[in-house]
Symmetry: C2
Subunit: 292 residues, 2 copies
Amino acid sequence: MQLLDGRETAEQIRKELAEAVQERKKAGKKIPHLAAILVGNDGGSLTYVGAKVKACDQIGFESTLIRYDDSVPEEILLAKVKSLNEDKSIDGFIVQLPLPAHIDELKITQAIDPKKDVDGFHPVNLGNMVLNLPGFLPATPAGIVELLKRNNIVTEGKKCVIIGRSNIVGTPLSIMLGRNSNPGNCTVTLAHSRTQNLKEICQTADILIAAIGQPDFVTADMVKEGAVIIDVGTTRVEDKSRARGWRLKGDVNFDEVAQKCSFITPVPGGVGPMTIASLMINTLKAMELKGK
Amino acid sequence: MQLLDGRETAEQIRKELAEAVQERKKAGKKIPHLAAILVGNDGGSLTYVGAKVKACDQIGFESTLIRYDDSVPEEILLAKVKSLNEDKSIDGFIVQLPLPAHIDELKITQAIDPKKDVDGFHPVNLGNMVLNLPGFLPATPAGIVELLKRNNIVTEGKKCVIIGRSNIVGTPLSIMLGRNSNPGNCTVTLAHSRTQNLKEICQTADILIAAIGQPDFVTADMVKEGAVIIDVGTTRVEDKSRARGWRLKGDVNFDEVAQKCSFITPVPGGVGPMTIASLMINTLKAMELKGK
């Protein structure tokens, strides 16, 4: 078994992006500028946004963090999105999800100019993805595909089973891995809560991807010998041995599955860092798509 | 074995739509108006467009057919698309594909206002489909889903294998049947030219859908006893016994598969009429989405 080390791969990507920034500086070109809107004080969201700002710093991107209180009215947030759409100094921006219940997430997501939608959540970008047209790929699926590519894992003709059909991971990933591209050309099965005989279906997978947020859901008996395992889960579970009182747990029972598979992503340090790396790639792309 | 009679189901839909038109007339509302652009004289395209205009007549929709010679420059076609986008009397329109090689199909498809894109080919409509948001569903996949629904075929939890990943049939259909809706909630596997062990994969399907345009590709040994078979293929093959010299042939070897399955669509008379029915449903929806 070999670890698919997302931290190491993401570090490599950051280095490449930092070089690209230096090249841009030398050529007198604009430096990519990412903005992030964060609403409230959710611990997970704070961590994610913090990691994104830190990645910008490491690469040399400019970044702006805009924070609102939990009680911010939807129209204030919408107005901010519109002003960021028009702000020429900002190349791409994200609104960290989840948002408080009184705010319509879809309304916010759809208000973002698709050309600045570096999270790749806008319908136009999803549609472009379906058609294999230029656009922003959703960050987590794109990070997974990049991780496979940079670790020389062949996908063409392989049977891939994805558990979980969320709009931000499972569904777009099923399209990206199934379409005619490299990585891609997998025979993808998208499994979900209504799937019957899930265990048997998983056993057929050369590449098994779990994205449901249920700790230890995937056990060794569900895994084919030599399969590639991608674990997208990051659930906080209690851990009194740690000062903060919790740790992150994936959807895969790592200890038992690791014995059986060829490659596996750890949690943390697998898909998470790759998601942030994708966002950085998209931010540079946002400038390039504009021809800047 | 029972036939999934697309002609009969489409006829039922046309009747319902004709009633809706009568209701609209009574209420003094606008009658839906579909326009179609046809370039050149391809026999298949002529037949399809003719059938669409005829369906409009039967339902009581207004229709306009705009024809161009094979040699029409791309900019003339683009200008027509733009004028139809702005024409308030037209509720929805289609550009019949394929287009001559000198015209960029994607450019034309993307120029259509998504609100009038009753074929459902625009990236915005595909993205909305991925997110399960309101919009136009691509006509052929939507027709297949409607055919399953009106014939009370349960899809939830069923294993569905789709052969062929085209942008207009296989790929969108895989999303529609896999998402959380009814019909939907299938466990979908999307197979294609790079798929290995296709026969074994097809044998697991409760619902098997062939959309590759290769006559008689699906044979009895690929089909599970009692499966539901949807045949999207419509290839013209030589038939000297007919005055016109050809007949339509599906992707499924009907005679041998029919012995083994529970339901099957004939070719012609299965998916084809449902595609046209979907287009009509979308045309009415185009008005309703505008609140007219």
